[in-house]
Structures are given as structure tokens and as C-alpha cells.
């Protein structure tokens, strides 16, 4: 497979931020915890997604980053109603998804597809590639030559036509992910939710798949929600990035803006934790380390969910008042952060606790 010659400079895409393809309002996904011997009662809930607002403009790529347990995967699935939201609303191109019945939703799925993290697990080991690619066509009774369409899809993702008769286990991880992507675009959807699309792949293959996703977006006019924990990959591919922690968004901004000037303490810690393949940088950077572990989503801390681990925590407001996403005077209005003290932290008036900061080595 030959790669297209590397292009210089940014990809030129025109995105109208007011033309929203997907609008999410106060989405909640709570999983009940049931206990009981004969009759089960609900004693609590795991608040995997606890009030998230998000808008995805047509043609753009929105990145959702966070660590394990933050609820980003659940959020992605809830958007497509693969997991049922327990509150809030999801509007796709004007249609209220939560108001659709099963059959209507099934038909709606043509418009929105998902690419999964583990390419081996998301392909039926007993299905050959042709079947994998034509199954969506059959499910929606699409007319035309299915095999030709399958060949076309393989071509779009850079796989040879001989792949049609093969089975998933005969391919490498990167190739399997391409098959998964081909399957996702088979129905010509408008939106693709990519849940950790490259994290299960070898490093040298990740770049191939990232490039493929970008190329497909340009060619087919797709809109992406990329969910990942790898900040560097998300920064590269996304126009807007939202950071999620324990079920809620803590910061959201244009990609460059977020990485240049993170405001939320969690985002700062996240960025400083990412290893950079450059010894000079690694030796001289200051790291903000978080203490302890993620609290349980069944019992999120009161007030700001992050306050139990926050290196910038203050005496007032942090432990009893939950901060809302808001813009900050010194930053563009599209940069929003959920922190009571964001301005003070940004200006340097509030410093992190000394125990949380790791200074560069003297050597």
C-alpha cells in the first residue's frame, strides 16, 4: 500500500461552528446498583455520565479526552443509543434521538456509526470481510451490487480486494482497524464516533490510521467525535477538544488553544504527565502530579468532582459548590472551563501545592 505524499501545512477545511450536526444537552447515563435477595432494589447509581453538554459542528472533529473511568466511552455509546441515556437530550441534525422508537432508531443508525477500539473484538471471527462489509447494506436493504461496494470500501481504506474472502484473524491489527473503518463508512454516515481508534495499535501503525481517518473525512465530508486518552493524537486530529473527568466536562476549547493554555488543574496535570520523546524537554519540564486515585463514579465527591485530588484546591467553594463550564475573561469565549478559581490560577495568583510539583532534575 502506498502512502499519499505528505502535504505541507494544515488541512484546509471550512467549518461553521453554528451549524451543529449533533447537540447534546445535560446528558446523563446512570447505571443502577441493585441489591436484594428475593427482590432487587436500587440502592445507588454509578454516574458514568453526569450532565454533559456538547455541540459537534458539521464537518468538524471534536476530541473527547479523559482517563479510564471518566465516562467518555459510555458517553460515545450513549450518543448512538447503544447504551440508553437516563437523562438529558441528544439532537442529531434536528431530530430528537431519545424520542425515536426502536425501529426508527435502527433506521437512524445509517447516519451515525462507530469505530471501536479493539479491532479483533469488534469483528465477528466467523465472518469473512465481504460479509462484514455487506452486512450493513443488507440490514438496511440497500440496493445495488454489494460486492462492488465492498470492493470500493476496501479501496477507500487501502486494502486489496483479495481481503474479501479472508477472515479477521488473518490480518494484522492495523488492517483489522481499516476493515472496521470500512464497515463504518459503508452506509455513508454523517457522523462517526471513534472510540479509541488507535490505542490498540502499534505506534508505527497509529499514524497510518490517523492519516486514513483524516483523509476519509476530507473525501467523504464526515464529522468525527474522537474519544481517546492519548492527548497527542487527539490534539493532532481534533479541531475542538473537551476534557472529561468523572462523568463531567472540566474544560473545552479549540485544539491549539487548549494545548497552549490549559486552564483547568486537571488538564494541566494531564498535559504535564504526557511523556514527550525529547530528552531536553523531559529534563527541564515541571510536572504536576496528582495524588491518589480516581474516586468511584458511584460516589462522586461533592462540589467540584476534582477537588479531592486538585493541587490548586482552595478552602472555599471547591468542596461544596459544583462549578459550571464557563468562559474566562482573558481567553477566547469558546474556551470554557469548570473551575471556580480559573482566572487566579491562570494569572499565577494561586500556586499548586509544593508536594504536587516535581521539579526538573538538577543534572
Amino acid at each position: 500500500m502506498t502512502e499519499a505524499p505528505a502535504e505541507q501545512g494544515r488541512r484546509r477545511r471550512s467549518i461553521d461552528p453554528t451549524d451543529a450536526l449533533l447537540t447534546v444537552d445535560d446528558l446523563q447515563v446512570h447505571f443502577p446498583i441493585r441489591r436484594g435477595i428475593l427482590v432487587e432494589r436500587q440502592v445507588g447509581a454509578v454516574k458514568a455520565v453526569d450532565g454533559v453538554d456538547l455541540t459537534i459542528p458539521r464537518g468538524s472533529t471534536v476530541g473527547l479526552v479523559g482517563e479510564s473511568g471518566c465516562g467518555k466511552s459510555t458517553f460515545g455509546r450513549a450518543l448512538l443509543r447503544l447504551v440508553e441515556p437516563t437523562g438529558g437530550s441528544v439532537h442529531f441534525d434536528g431530530t430528537d434521538l431519545l424520542a425515536l422508537d426502536d425501529e426508527q432508531m435502527r433506521r437512524m443508525r445509517r447516519q451515525m456509526q462507530m469505530v471501536f477500539q479493539d479491532p479483533m473484538a469488534s469483528l465477528d471471527p466467523r465472518q469473512d470481510v465481504e460479509s462484514v462489509l455487506t452486512e450493513p447494506l443488507r440490514a438496511h436493504r440497500i440496493e445495488g451490487d454489494h460486492r462492488a461496494r465492498a470492493r470500493e470500501l476496501l479501496d477507500l481504506v487501502g486494502l486489496p480486494a483479495t481481503a474479501l474472502s479472508r477472515y479477521p484473524h488473518e490480518f494484522s491489527g492495523g488492517q483489522r482497524q481499516r476493515i472496521g473503518i470500512a464497515r463504518a463508512i459503508a452506509l455513508e454516515p454523517q457522523l462517526i464516533v471513534a472510540d479509541e481508534p488507535v490505542s490498540a495499535l502499534d505506534v508505527s501503525i497509529q499514524a497510518q490510521v490517523v492519516n486514513l481517518l483524516e483523509e476519509l473525512q476530507d473525501r467523504l465530508g464526515l464529522t468525527y467525535l474522537v474519544i481517546a486518552h492519548d492527548l497527542a493524537v487527539v490534539r493532532h486530529i481534533a479541531d475542538v477538544v473537551a476534557v472529561m473527568y468523572l462523568g463531567g466536562l472540566v474544560e473545552q476549547a479549540a485544539s491549539d488553544e487548549l494545548y497552549a493554555a490549559p486552564l483547568h488543574p486537571y488538564t494541566k496535570a494531564l498535559m504535564s504527565a504526557v511523556p514527550i520523546p525529547d530528552p531536553e524537554v523531559e529534563d527541564t519540564r515541571q510536572r504536576i502530579l496528582l495524588a491518589g486515585d480516581l474516586p468511584s463514579p458511584a460516589a462522586p465527591p461533592p462540589g467540584c468532582r476534582f477537588h479531592t485530588r486538585c493541587p490548586f484546591r482552595q478552602e472555599t467553594r471547591c468542596d461544596d459548590e459544583r462549578p459550571q463550564l464557563r468562559s474566562v475573561a482573558t481567553r477566547p469565549p469558546s474556551h470554557r472551563v469548570a473551575c471556580h478559581w480559573a482566572e487566579d490560577i491562570d494569572a499565577g495568583r494561586i500556586q499548586p501545592r509544593a508536594s504536587a510539583v516535581v521539579e526538573p532534575d538538577a543534572s
Binding site: 500500500m1 505528505a6 494544515r10 488541512r11 482517563e67 479510564s68 505506534v203 508505527s204 499514524a207 504527565a273
Partner: protein, 334 residues
Amino acid sequence: MTNSATGPLLDVRDLTVTFTRRGGPDTRAVDGVSFQVSPGQTLGLVGESGSGKSVTSLAVMGLLPRRSVSVEGHVYFDGDDLLTLPRDRMRDIRGRDMAMVFQDPMTSLNPVVPIGVQVTEVFERHQDMTGEAARKAAAELLDRVGIPDPGRRLKEYPHQLSGGMRQRALIAMALACRPRVLIADEPTTALDVTIQAQILELLKDLVQDTGAALIMITHDLGVVAGLCDTVHVMYAGRVVESAGRRELFAEPRHPYTGGLLASVPRLDAPRGAPLQPIPGSPTDVLSWPDGCAFAPRCPNRIDACTGAPPPLEAIGGRTLRCVNPLPTAEEVPA
């Protein structure tokens, strides 16, 4: 004791590991790998899947299954060749002088035994401590690795701890007897990035305190950049480049190293241009005896690459296995 005060603590020479299979061809997972590491030094073994980096560490620790596996070469530690030692002596060395931390803490810990018991077990086995003394030592160790409330944690089971805590417990077990060599095989790959940062800081501190030698196996170049003194890059079972970390990152010579560095998006670099991936996949290999295993994917490939395997050469402080390496700064035409 070591032969000379400045000699390497662990000296691996020409390590070769071959897997044999019934009715199939042999696989050479590791092919003539050599490296040395001295006390207080950190060595990085970098590679992707199929590079042989994990198998190398398992071979050094003597943890490979006996059946269908043949290990050749020499692993000199403290004057002994570990590959020739009888099993009980190897068991003594393992845990006491050499220890290993694995990738997945959940499968490396016994799920039905409390953490405390697993840690005290190490003390009992290698230092003949029992009962209260062992428990006290275990609690201190858990505290040292940053597990809060260690007295209570001793009684907990692995599934009650988070991933980061479990990994710390594993590190505690590995360090219980103050080993002189610690091998960490992708210890943070399964962990979140903020936890990873904590664990890497911990490893750095511990290595500094105890003066142990650390062999870090990873695919993450960022981790290597921050942690390791020397770096060995492996591909298809052989070392293709090794250098001090500053030299390697400033000026990678092997096209594979260069390709890896170019294909990884960096948090601090301007975004925009498409990534430069390495074409093909790690399974597109040429067998080493037939030429350079990386040739099918190499942008610098010339005819000589597919005729004979390139030899490992030492060039100014680094070793390189390539007949057409990337140009150095001086060689780039103006």
C-alpha cells in the same frame, strides 16, 4: 562480586531465543542481542510488538518455559552465566538480586491472596523473615512505594486496589529484597497517563535511592526520553540501534528509529502536517539471514539491504545495524 568496580553489573552477550513448534518452522524471537547495564544506570529496550523485547527480559530472568524454547548466548551477572545455572540457584537470584515488574498488575498478582501476604512471602523466601518482622517490613515497603494507609492495605485483595496501586504493590514486591537489577516490562502501558507519571517518578526515585540498575522495556519513546540513560532499539529480534538517549533523540541514524520518532504526534510540536507513518506493518518482515528485516518498510532501502544482513557496527559511542543510515547533521547536503 563483580570483577571490577566499574564493570557492568549485567552483561548480556549474543542472547538468542528460539521457539520450536511441532510441525512448523522455528521462530527466532531474539537474535544475538547484547547489552550491558551498570549499577544506578537505566537502560531502555524499545520496540513494537514482535521486536522480541519482552522475550529478552524473560530470557534474562530465566522465566521462559523449558519446553520448545532454546536459549543460547550468555547472561553474565556477578561473574556467573545465568543461563548455565541450576534452577535452584536461579530461583535464589530471582527475587533477591534480580526482580521483574510486569505489564498487567491484575494477572501478575494472585487474586485470592491478600496483598500483604504476597509481599511478606518475598521477605520470607529470600530474607528468612517471619511473622511480625515480615509484616512490618511489608508495611514499610508499601509506604515507600506511595500506597496510603499501608497497614490496612496489607489485608486487602488485589481487586480492591486500583490499577495504579496494584502496580505499586508489584513494584514493592520486586524491590522487597533490594535487588541490584530491576527489569520493568511495560509497567505503565496499561495505566492512565497521570498514574503513569506517578509510577515513573517512583521508579526514578527508587533507582536513585537503591542504586539498582533498571532495564525499562517499552514502546513509548516519551517514557524512554525521560527515564533512560541508554536506549536500545529492537526490531524483529535484533538490536538495530543503540545510543545514549540524548544522542539517539537528537540524531537518530537508523531509519526505523527515525520513522518511529516522526510518526508519533508530539504534544509540544505545531500541529498541522499529516503524520509520517512507517508504511506496512510490523509483520512485513524479511528474515534476518536474508537481509535487513526492516527493508520491506524502509524508505532508505538500497539493493545491499536485501542481499545480506547488515552487521552491527560501533560508530562513535553508538551501535548501528544499517548499511544506509539516515544522514547526520554534517552529512545533510546544504
